[in-house]
Amino acid sequence: MSLPIDVGGLTKHFGRTRALDGLDLTVRTGEVHGLLGPNGAGKSTTIRILLGLLRADDGAATMFGRDPWSDAVDLHRRLAYVPGDVNLWPSLTGGEVIDVLGRLRGGLDPRRRADLLQRFDLDPTKKGRTYSKGNRQKVALVAALASDAKLLILDEPTSGLDPLMEAVFTECIREAKSEGRTVLLSSHIMAEVEKLCDRVSIIRAGRTVQSGSLSELRHLTRTSIEATTSRPADDLDRVPGVHGLTVDGATVRFDVDGDHLDAALRALTTYGVQALTSAPPSLEELFMRHYGTGDDTSTEPQPAEAAR
């Protein structure tokens, strides 16, 4: 079966602005895929192209093997979309909007609708103009989750939700995954993506800078080690992958790339380890490295700029 989303070398200009600059994205059936990037990276633009709302300038994009621009109507039968900025009709109630969107997607399951309303604690009788941002988002989420779309495309779905509702959302996404649905969700919060996603694509300035499963990405991050040794470990930086070494008498601190962890620990034991603490690898740190300004957009992990 063809991939739910397969994008290669996508470019899109808005006048002079280059919103996408050769973006790649592959989403496999049944996975929850995170599209991660700072403000203005091109997440929403990518999603709009996938929805056939925008036409790409160049590059190949297919959904389920078909062209999102020319086969939009057919493709939309298989997906449900939650925009990043949900705008509702001021005079319609949330319940009415859920039903209208559901009807357009070919009907929704009333039991699931009621269940979701209850879980998201959403009052469907309020008019669109009176909902808060988070509640507007919930309206769109309930409409999308109550449909039986195979693919859910969610643009920053939790940006307006409180922590309690975020937990409900996490639960709903896990359920969707267990039902075999595919989810593409954009975000600029690593922790959220780490919690939900099987695979992640990090994009910046319209280009994919890193893509892979969480464990592959973890591999690219560094573990922080602090140890007390019987002999000063002052030449530990001969080991490849060790960064920011500081030796303070018997105490040694350093960061080590995921794929050199084993070698570094072996080397460390030769100094006689008396105490050891390690901070787990954090994707946040990897992500922050890509967030930063400058041209470090290569797929190679860069040396840390500053010691801790």
């Binding site: 929805l51 709302l53 939009a72 939309h76 900025d85 319940g95 009415e96 039903d99 009788t125 769109a140």
Partner: protein, 526 residues
């Protein structure tokens, strides 16, 4: 006072943001006044002409209901006030209501005010800034009106009184809006209530003036009318207006003290928890979104028809008095009464075109407000979505003129005791439907090809209005006139139906809509 911190800053911000809007109001109001004054001057150049006008125009109850009792109608200034005073005072009232709504409730509703108030704004700063802008704008209009009339060489004292009277009207109703904007949570509700107060005040004034009872003194329109510009000017009625405005603003402040930011005094009522079957149908959905404004237009044009129909008989005499008027009206038909009725139906159809354009432009506002996106991400195709939103304007092109024709027919039928007039005029009102369709189609074409410039559809309508109203007077070349579709529709009643032309316009409209839809399918959704 700390509750007013930042007021002037906010007032400047309001003016800066709305400078185009405010300038358009000023230009439109003064333009209307200048055109009317010039018209009166050229139609009735001598005192004898004016005396003749005063005899016919000033004496009919319908004209009194519409314009108020004439004061010194036998002077150019008094005649001008009698002709446009009513429209201008309603216009400044609505202008003030809209300014207050935009600067207070609309800001609050959008959440921008919250952002500002979190900084260094006093609690009453937004209201105070809105009132300042509103009062300043009314003073500007009043001054401009006085200056323009003086420039046309009418009594300066009368011109100044009339200018002050208009400013007074605006300030009173602006103050009314300051109160209503505290009551509802949404600017539309607040404007609707204030607009209803304007209408009610106008009706009370009309009833009072026709019955010559003291009822008019209950209406702000009655107060400022009592300043009698160009007759024996009196300024004291303006004090009532200013006193009332001050009381209303104080009331608005008191109400504001009792509520939260963003909240109203009247809470929002809950609506249905699930959609009705009609809403689930795409056409039902788009009609539902437009329901309120379509009903508003229909009722408004119907009332316009009633108003015009009720003066149709006097028009015969008025027209008979003036050669210039005769020449103007004769462009619409041979028989003066029929010509006036044909002109009325043409005007009402132009209003219907306004309704159709506004309704079609909903498509762009849905798009730019981001509400098209979730709908277009469903299996609904773009052409189907666009066409579903066209049902309302295309239907309005028929319903609104017919409502206007009914209104005209009812009023004229009662005056002439001839019930036949009702179906006759309602039918004749459909003469311009193909032209309205073509303007709707042009709007769709703009939406498809040049969405950013879609509002220029209004400029097309403005061109049609000029061609239809003044085309023969200002002697535009024929080929320019014929660009307006309304030049190709028959002048009914009186004229004869040109089936071929109507079919051509309809076919053209259909073709243009197709091009518009295809272009929309090909472009990015904004």
């Amino acid at each position: 006072m700390s509750t007013l911190t930042g007021t002037m800053h906010l007032a400047r911000l309001n003016v800066r943001r709305d400078r185009v809007r405010l300038a358009v109001w000023l230009a439109a109001l003064t333009g209307l006044l200048a055109a009317t004054t010039a018209g009166i001057k050229s139609l009735y150049p001598t005192a004898a002409d004016l005396a003749g006008y005063a005899e016919t125009a000033g004496s009919s109850p319908a004209a009194t209901a519409l314009n108020g009792p004439g004061h010194a109608v036998d002077t150019a200034g008094g005649a001008t006030v009698f002709e446009v005073g009513g429209y201008l005072s309603v216009a400044v009232a609505l202008m003030s209501v809209l300014i207050i709504g935009r600067c207070t409730r609309a800001e609050e509703e959008s959440g921008r005010l919250e952002l500002l108030r979190a900084n260094v704004l006093g609690r009453h700063a937004a209201l105070a800034a809105a009132v300042i802008v509103m009062v300043a704008m009314n003073i500007a209009v009043g001054t401009a009106v006085a200056a323009i009339m003086t420039a046309f060489d009418v009594s300066a004292a009368g011109a100044a009184t009339f200018g002050a009277a208009l400013a007074g009207i605006g300030i009173v109703f602006g103050a009314v809006a300051a109160v209503t904007s505290q009551i509802t949570e949404h600017v539309r509700g607040s404007n609707a209530i204030a607009g209803t107060v304007v209408a009610a005040a106008y009706v009370i004034r009309a009833a009072g003036d026709v019955g010559e009872t003291g009822l008019s003194w209950l209406s702000p329109f009655g107060w400022v009318q009592a300043t009698r510009p160009f007759a024996d000017e009196r300024w004291w009625p303006l004090l009532i207006a200013l006193g009332a405005a001050a009381l209303l603003v104080a009331m608005a402040v008191a109400l504001q003290n009792r509520r939260d930011v963003g909240a109203g005094l009247v809470p929002q009522r809950p609506g249905p928890a699930s959609a009705s079957p009609t809403l689930l149908h795409q056409v039902g959905f788009s009609l539902r979104l437009q329901r309120a404004s379509l009903i508003g237009w229909t009722v408004g044009v119907f009332l316009g028809g009633l108003a015009f129909g009720s003066v149709a008989r006097e028009m015969e005499d008025i027209v008979a008095e003036s050669d210039d008027l005769q020449e103007w009206v004769s462009a619409y038909g041979a028989n003066p009464t029929e010509a006036f009725l044909a002109l009325t139906l043409l005007l009402l159809s132009l209003a219907a075109a306004g309704c159709a354009i506004a309704s079609a432009l909903r498509i762009t506002s849905e798009e730019s407000a981001g509400r098209a996106e979730p709908i277009l991400a469903t299996p609904l195709s773009r052409p189907a979505w666009l066409l579903s939103h066209l049902v309302a304007p295309l239907a309005a092109a028929i319903v609104v003129p017919v409502a206007g024709g009914l209104g005209t027919g009812i009023a004229y039928g009662i005056l002439t005791s001839d019930a036949e007039q009702i179906p006759r005029l309602a039918g004749a009102a459909m003469a311009h439907v193909p032209a309205v369709w073509l303007l709707t189609a042009a709007t769709v074409l703009l939406i498809g090809l040049l969405p950013r410039l879609a509002v220029t559809a209004w400029a097309i309508l403005a061109g049609c209005v000029v061609a239809a109203m003044l085309g023969s007077l200002i002697r535009l070349p024929d080929w320019v006139l014929e660009l307006s579709p309304f030049e190709h529709t028959p002048r009914l009643p009186g004229g004869s139906m040109d089936v071929a032309a109507s079919l051509t316009l309809t076919g053209l409209a259909a073709a243009v809509i197709v091009v518009g839809v295809v272009s929309f399918r090909r472009r990015d959704v904004r």
